[in-house]
Symmetry: C2
Subunit: 261 residues, 2 copies
Amino acid sequence: MSTKNALPHHLKHLLEKGDVLYQAGLSVDCVIFSFHEQQLKILLLKMDVVQKWALPGGFIKISEPIEEAAYRVLRERTGLKDIFLQQFYVFGAPDRSDPSIHQKRYLNFGIKIPKDNWLIQRFITVGFFALVDYNEVLLQPIQEGVQFEWIDVEALNDLMMDHALIVQKALETLRTQLAYLPIGKNLLPKKFTMPELQKLYETILNEKLDRRNFQRKLLSFGILNRLNETKKGGAHKAAYFYTFNEKKYQKALKDGLYGSW
Amino acid sequence: MSTKNALPHHLKHLLEKGDVLYQAGLSVDCVIFSFHEQQLKILLLKMDVVQKWALPGGFIKISEPIEEAAYRVLRERTGLKDIFLQQFYVFGAPDRSDPSIHQKRYLNFGIKIPKDNWLIQRFITVGFFALVDYNEVLLQPIQEGVQFEWIDVEALNDLMMDHALIVQKALETLRTQLAYLPIGKNLLPKKFTMPELQKLYETILNEKLDRRNFQRKLLSFGILNRLNETKKGGAHKAAYFYTFNEKKYQKALKDGLYGSW
């Protein structure tokens, strides 16, 4: 027989006081995107006892605004601060919760959660997403038995519960926003080439784009400044570097890429 | 002393069984838009005991998908069926619930809700919105002591709880969609003039638009067919009637007004 470790404080806390400290049946989950080495990535965590990648998420304190809960959960789970989160959808399929995940976490410490405990109920979750700079995120282990990693969107499989659906919906929201808002400021380095920008769009849209159409369209938005500097090396013709025109980028964020009415 | 009426079945039901039949702390609210006599209108209800206009809303059964709850609530409250509802935002300010509203409804029947009852808790609400044809909605009184009316968006004031905020956010979502999606099919008659279409946009955007720019932009989307027929009468030059090109309208709904990438 193995000796079980003592139940960590935060798990004890959830088990014994969850019902009075947290809003019943409601959680938040965060889809954090970044772009690195020409890949769109999502920040996921894996608990030793569950062995499936999952979105960072958590509960909402009884008198806490939902947005604050999302920021707090992200900070507590990943150490990330000052990230602009956008609420994008609520996931409420009656069978989306999986009480066996909680059971596994507690059984690991020799504890069986009673069937009438607050943790064993239907949870509806509010999805938030953010686009962040890959290089500004330091992935530190915050909790024991939990690892964090950036996973390629294309390499996702078998996520926990309905988290694949949540990622899918976040991607759809991102694709929709791509149609009328500028994107890239947090995702690309300060100067980038047109092929790099195109690759970002192609990755989000999950389709190949025509090089000339893309360039014409992007330039027509007037949000790019071309630098007098080209990127050397590579098999192709040297490509010019671009930066975003900060003022016009901000205006397009407000009025849309095609201008106001 | 007045004789109190017996508590209606649905209120008794909520009071006594709400905690086992419905998801705790969560509700849905529906913002139903239509356009009539050049005004954007919202379907609101007013309970005799509350005397403030409110959005049709209700609770989510313990094993009911959120979307189904929204459709059911709308049907039960207004008789409306087959309406395409879009989830748009979650409202979760800790102080948004107002237990005194429930108290008033029950006090009307001589009943005081106990403080620990399910109804007296923080409720977070999921907002849904829809655009409907004004003429297809028959406003029938479904519940006693509740009146329904189309209220001009511009004439809204002093709505119940945070419902003004919910309407505001629905309008913002509609304005954003206006930038990349076609609109008008459910809101305008089958044939309409350019000034009528412009008025719809102006009402949603809450700003005056330049007539020539508007016409040029709308025609450039390729979703309109001009008829060989003009609208007679009025102070202005006779205006051509237009209809939506069904095929191109549907394509624009899918790919966006500016086409796919």
